[in-house]
Amino acid sequence: MRRIRWHLPNWIVVSIAIIASLLVTSLLLLLFGVSPMDGFGAMLLGAFGDSTKVLSVTAFWVPLALASAGLILTFTAGLWNIGVEGQIIMGAVAASWVALRIDAPRPILLVLELSLAMAAGALWAGITALLKTRGKVHEIFGGLALNNLAIIFTNYLISGPWQPPEGGTFRGTDPFQAKALLPLYRDSRLSPLSVIITLVVIALIYFVLRGTKWGLRLKALGKNPRSAFILGVSSERETILAMMICGAFAGLGGSVRVLSWFDSLRQSISGGIGYLALLVVMLSATRILLTPFIAFFFSAVLNGSITLQLRTQLHSSLGGILTGVMVLFVLLFSGTRSLKLPSQKTLEVEEDE
């Protein structure tokens, strides 16, 4: 049997992916009677039409970029941290607890909110990690269950203990006290401080993976857990550490959601940012320096599709379809196989590859 080698150059793969995703979304638009030019025009206007839109895209980018940066660590270690969505949510919950229950001067309040959010995200990720190392529960299932539990917990808080006094709505808590919120740029939803924190986190992870022993250990674990073990890398310790650090950054992203994007804890506080971050990292082939740009592109597409919905009454999931098709094509046809998981052991028969 003849087998064609599918090792296309990267720029061709990316072009194919972009064309395919535009083609699929154009067909969908035509199917619903909207001309693709109008559709994409609305999306572009929604993302970059004026300065408020750009600020909005940037504000949405912050938690996405934070979660993506964290996921770089877990993917490098060969871990499928699907639980990142729940880690974002728990970070948001922890920050909301501080904002609702604690009274202190603003700087102390902010430090408390952000650090508690990181702790909560790390804790939630730690549970998944322990379930994996001690209980042999695959992190996909542990993480997924904990995601749903985090959503249910949020709904419980909103409809129970943290319900606004006037009650009624199940949509969110009361707005937080003004000093509990991150300082915003003019009247946008963007906190400049959060952008700086995100850039620092990305730089930090870049250097950890590039220049530290621990980064090397993670890579060894991700490439080949068996030989890493023989070389003295403790898979349990690195697994738990990588997951918890990722969880901490995801939790930080969650706090940004409640403290600048919204001003209260809402029902779907993350709304799938964690899953989107997984796509970002897949598209980047776990290259950290690419993630902020891909995350920004995704953020623009998603914000644009909300405008599309307002203009054409079409469901805003079109943006998700566009990014999903793009990732699928890159995943299928790119030459790199950097997303290698422990389960994907290749057989001895293919020695000469």
């Binding site: 079409l314 999931s317 995943l331 290749t346 028969v349």
Partner: protein
């Protein structure tokens, strides 16, 4: 609670578990041949939507089921093609398809939400349905339920009692040995992964056309993941998988009954049960609890019990296989 009420509850548990049984059988077939279809949640959403809309437009539920099966088989084909031909990570492709299926179902089904459509008609089996207790529980449903029963038996028989089934399992356990005995490993993987995916599609349509009538965004969200967990709980056996599905259905019915009994407890607590159950069950499967249980039993039944309780994934699950010839190129 009297007898008839209990029978009614058991009957509804059987009905409610039907789509899960079909999905679990489909995924079991796919994983037995060595292909993990992680996209179950997205596949089921998209096929539930497709089945509902196709049924509505054609006026026939069976065309709905057919369309849903095609969708399921297509998604499974993408995963098989990606892993076999392009040698890409099955989990990654499956995960992207999960999200894509969810988004596509929301977009394509946006004009068909919360409207009445076709539904499968009730069809009690004559004579059998008149058996006391068992009749109403098992034989007074509709064809989809009977299909699920048949599927459990046929899948088990095919996997464990036939020659083609042996070849199927060899592709998932020891592809090299299978290949040495003349099994076209990768072709089998394509075929059975797509059959499995088709069944998952039918399971999705079983919700929108029968068990949870109609379509709305996120109609079956979460259930695909539950089915994936049940496949593991079922130790990659259709019979144990079906038992797992029924137990899951029973636990949901129990939670609903408890909720009616204790209305002061927040609804939220009951929503959490499936996910807590998922963690607990997978912990049990992964731990050595079963082995300890076996050891305290009388020595004579130990081997048989161990075989019954042992959970082990197919050895080459998710492992790419290349035929030795193609290495020469």
């Amino acid at each position: 609670m009297n007898d008839t009420e209990l029978v009614r509850i058991l009957s509804s548990i059987v009905l409610q578990s039907t789509p899960l049984i079909i999905a679990v059988c489909g995924e079991t077939i796919g994983e037995r041949v060595g292909v993990v279809n992680l996209s179950l949640d997205g596949t089921m959403l998209l096929s539930a939507m497709t089945g509902f809309v196709a049924g509505l437009l054609s006026g026939s539920v069976w065309i709905g089921f057919l369309a849903a099966a095609v969708v399921g088989a297509f998604f499974a084909w993408i995963i098989a093609f990606g892993s076999i031909r392009l040698r890409k990570d099955q989990f990654a492709v499956g995960f992207v398809l999960t999200l894509l299926g969810d988004e596509l179902s929301a977009f394509l089904g946006q004009n068909y939400t919360r409207i009445p459509g076709e539904s499968v008609h009730h069809l009690g089996i004559p004579f059998l349905k008149d058996i006391p207790i068992l009749g109403p529980i098992f034989f007074d449903h509709d064809p989809v339920v009977y299909f699920a029963f048949l599927l459990i038996g046929v899948t088990w028989w095919w996997l464990f009692r036939t020659q083609p089934g042996l070849r199927l399992r060899s592709a998932g356990e020891r592809p090299e040995s299978g290949f040495a005995r003349g099994v076209d490993v990768n072709r089998l993987r394509y075929v059975y992964a797509m059959i499995g995916g088709g069944l998952v599609g039918i399971a999705g349509a079983a919700y929108s056309l029968d068990i949870k009538l109609g379509w709305s965004e996120g109609h079956t969200r979460g259930l695909g993941w539950i089915a994936l967990a049940i496949v593991i709980f079922g130790g990659w056996s259709p019979i144990r998988g079906a038992v797992g599905s029924l137990l899951f259905g029973a636990s949901k019915a129990l939670a609903a009954a408890l909720q009616r009994r204790f209305p002061e407890v927040s609804v939220v607590a009951f929503n959490a049960t499936p996910w807590l159950l998922m963690i607990v069950v997978l912990l049990l499967v992964g731990s050595d609890v079963t082995e300890r249980l076996v050891l305290i039993m009388p020595r004579r039944v130990q081997p048989r019990l161990r075989r019954l309780l042992r959970v082990r994934p197919p050895a080459a699950l998710g492992v790419a296989f290349s035929t030795p010839e193609s290495q020469g190129e």
